[in-house]
């Protein structure tokens, strides 16, 4: 597995040293709150009234077990014994004391982890496919490119004070697990007609109050030119993006105002000046080295004659959580951290250590984080999956609900978040209680339900089969329902069902929607297929009729 070298670690330490000085100046009254805010967000630190939150980057969602144990230690030493895995593949701690921050970050730098640019108006940690390098139908493993681009945006001298935040996703698979078109910038790895590898570039996606699917601004940029092209996108945004209206800071507004064609032309005009600059060419030697570092760490195994154990609960769990691996004899195993009664993505330090032990034993000491707030074991031998399942079940981490409708993605919402308009987690729990019949869940199949407590859309409700957005009307909590958002095959923002629904009735409405789906479903159709065929009207009539 790829690891940072001495220079990279030295860089992380320099960053912590500088941030510690800034923090001390702030505490001494020599750095005002507004400037310190701008600086601390770039170091992942949020200051709330009663507690401080730190977001630690898990670059493109890859962790080794040493890192996971370090994250568990941080949870014990500096927090209240748990961390929260986010929908952007990072981890957050909610109860950090200011004077401890630098020591915490130093502990993490020892295992190559950091909080650089996990927030603020800067280029953010890259989202990547958690199955990168593992599946057969991949166009190309995105990880080496993710790493080169991650390095490039660290403390970029020209682009560190952007109009707004800037989220990047990179996808190398045929099915897009990253939802790249809802990012400020999405790179899709493609081959052109001459069979050269490059990127289709999408700019200006985003959720929130004005959701937008990023348009393609160019179908192909050769791999070696990607850095100069990204610089041109960032330069155009940095110089001409809106800074006057706080609600229009993201690049999506600029793309919308100019139109994708004109925006692409502006980028191209700048790029023509730099694309031949040798300093901006992707370092192909480094790329080759990274490809080696990220090569499969395992050899194929011959399991001829192996038959897996038959067990009802195991089979259901396996159907929804175990995926085919490109290497014979191996599987990819998905582990849900979402338990009935706990906040999605929360993990205790004990769970983290237990998962690290299991990953050492069953997954070559590597894990991945996903945007559904799960963990993935990338290298599990097929004849050890049952054993792993038993271990997970012993630790309450193998609920057969995983991968079914009962596995709801919910933001912290009204129970934990100051910005919330409505609760999220209790609604998720009610859904789980309503759909508790395993046979029925199994029959329904994998419908996604995502619940955001406000327009900030942290739970990505816009791109879910059934999305719920919390609202407040006359001090009462209501939910706006959207249907058939998707990102896997194509990107579509969910369509609004109709007027918002009171909290007490929202689970009934979900049941109605699921029933329409079940009644209308034809062989092999998923929720989005049915929605596309029958339209929104039958759902509306059932819910509001």
């Amino acid at each position: 597995m790829y690891q940072y070298n001495a220079d990279d670690t030295a860089f992380l330490v320099e960053r912590v040293d500088q941030f510690e000085k800034q923090l001390n100046r702030h505490l001494a009254g020599d750095l005002d709150a507004a400037k310190f805010r701008s600086l601390r967000l770039r170091n992942g630190l949020y200051m709330e009234l009663h507690a401080h939150m730190l977001r630690v980057a898990i670059p493109y969602g890859i962790l080794n077990t040493e890192q996971l144990r370090a994250l568990a230690d941080v949870a014990d030493k500096y927090d209240r014994g748990f961390g929260h895995f986010t929908t952007r593949q990072n981890i957050q701690y909610n109860w950090i004391e200011l004077p401890e921050i630098a020591n915490l970050l130093r502990d993490l730098s020892a295992v190559g982890l950091h909080a650089i640019q996990t927030s603020g108006k800067a280029m953010r940690n890259i989202t990547a496919d958690p199955f990168s390098g593992l599946t057969k139908d991949e166009v190309e493993d995105a990880r080496p490119y993710c790493e080169l681009i991650r390095r490039w945006f660290n403390i970029h001298p020209e682009f560190s004070w952007l109009p707004g935040k800037f989220k990047i996703a990179i996808n190398g698979a045929k099915l897009d697990e990253t939802a790249l078109q809802i990012h400020d910038l999405g790179l899709n790895i493609v081959y052109n007609e001459a069979n050269e590898l490059g990127f289709a570039v999408y700019v200006g996606g985003g959720l929130g109050a004005a959701p937008m699917v990023a348009p393609e601004i160019t179908p192909f940029v050769a791999a070696e030119d990607i850095i100069s092209y990204l610089e041109s996108v960032l330069r155009v945004y940095n110089l001409k993006g809106r800074r006057d209206n706080l609600k229009r800071l993201r690049i999506k507004f600029m793309v919308r105002e100019h139109g994708a064609v004109e925006f692409g032309r502006m980028v191209d005009e700048d790029w023509q000046q730099t694309k031949n600059n040798p300093e901006l060419k992707l370092n192909m030697d480094e790329l080759a080295k990274l490809k080696k570092d990220f090569a499969l760490p395992i050899e194929p195994v011959d399991l001829a004659g192996f038959t897996d154990t038959v067990d009802f609960n195991y089979s259901i769990w396996k159907k929804n959580n175990v995926r085919a691996h490109k290497l014979s004899g191996y599987s990819i195993v998905n582990i849900s951290l979402t338990q009935l009664g706990t906040a999605p993505g929360d993990a205790t330090s004990e769970q983290m250590r237990m998962l690290a032990d299991l990953a050492d034993k069953y997954s070559n000491s590597e894990l991945r984080t996903t945007k559904r707030q799960n963990l993935v074991f990338p290298y599990v031998r097929q004849n050890q999956v049952f054993e792993l399942w038993q271990e997970l079940a012993k630790n309450s981490l193998a609920s057969p609900h995983q991968g079914t409708l009962a596995h709801v993605v919910a933001c912290p919402g009204g129970d934990y978040c100051d910005l919330a308009k409505a609760v999220s987690i209790p609604i998720a729990q009610q859904v789980q209680q309503r759909f508790d019949d395993m046979d029925k869940l199994y029959d329904i199949g994998p419908i996604n339900i995502n619940i955001s407590g406000c327009e900030n859309s942290c739970a990505h409700h816009h791109i879910s089969d059934i999305g719920l957005l919390g609202l407040k009307k006359n001090e009462q909590e209501f939910y706006q329902i959207t249907l058939a958002g998707e990102t896997l095959h194509e990107t579509a923002i969910g369509r609004k069902l109709g007027r918002s629904i009171a909290g007490a009735e929202v689970v009934d409405a979900i049941e109605d929607i699921v029933n329409i789906y079940l009644d209308s479903r034809e062989e092999g159709e998923n929720f989005v297929d049915v929605f596309k065929r029958i339209g929104i009207t039958p759902f509306k009539e059932k819910v509001y009729g």
Binding site: D17, I155, F159
Partner: protein, 146 residues
């Protein structure tokens, strides 16, 4: 920097007092302003491409970094220094301690710190990082890793 009855001047690296004019003023009277050794004061909203063709007639360029979160000056500096090869002095004015290394790497050559930072350890912020991951106008003293 002295702002006296609308006449803004800076003392250049060589010790000369240089009077600054706005981008609009410069564009209208390039030859006479160049002949009298004027510098140009660029604000974040200014379109620096207007200066491209007359760049090397400008005695000194001052970039205003007053807004902490307004990052346009870094791109303006990069264009002027790196892309168009301006070889004169680029002065950052109203600058912030925490942003010095970003600014210097983008092509700014001298700077006037805001008063609130007087007495601070500037070296911590001009040389806080010894390793860099991207090409820039000025990576002097840094180990380049890209």
């Amino acid at each position: 920097m002295v702002d006296d009855n609308e006449v803004i001047t800076v003392v250049s690296e060589q010790g000369q007092t240089v009077e600054l004019v706005s981008v609009e003023e410069w564009i209208e009277n390039i030859d006479s302003l160049a002949a009298s050794g004027k510098g140009v004061l660029i604000k974040p909203v200014d379109d620096v491409t207007l200066l491209k063709d007359s760049l090397n007639k400008i005695a000194l360029i001052a970039l205003d970094f007053v807004g902490f979160d307004d990052g346009r000056g870094y791109s303006q500096a990069a264009l002027i220094r790196n892309r168009w090869g301006y070889s004169g002095e680029i002065r950052g004015i109203n600058t912030h301690l925490d942003q010095l290394q970003f600014m210097l790497r983008s092509g700014v050559s001298t700077y006037d710190l805001q008063e609130q930072y007087q007495g601070s350890n500037e070296h911590d912020y001009t040389h806080g990082f010894s390793i860099c991951y991207q090409a820039a106008a000025n990576n002097a003293d840094m180990k380049e890793k890209f």
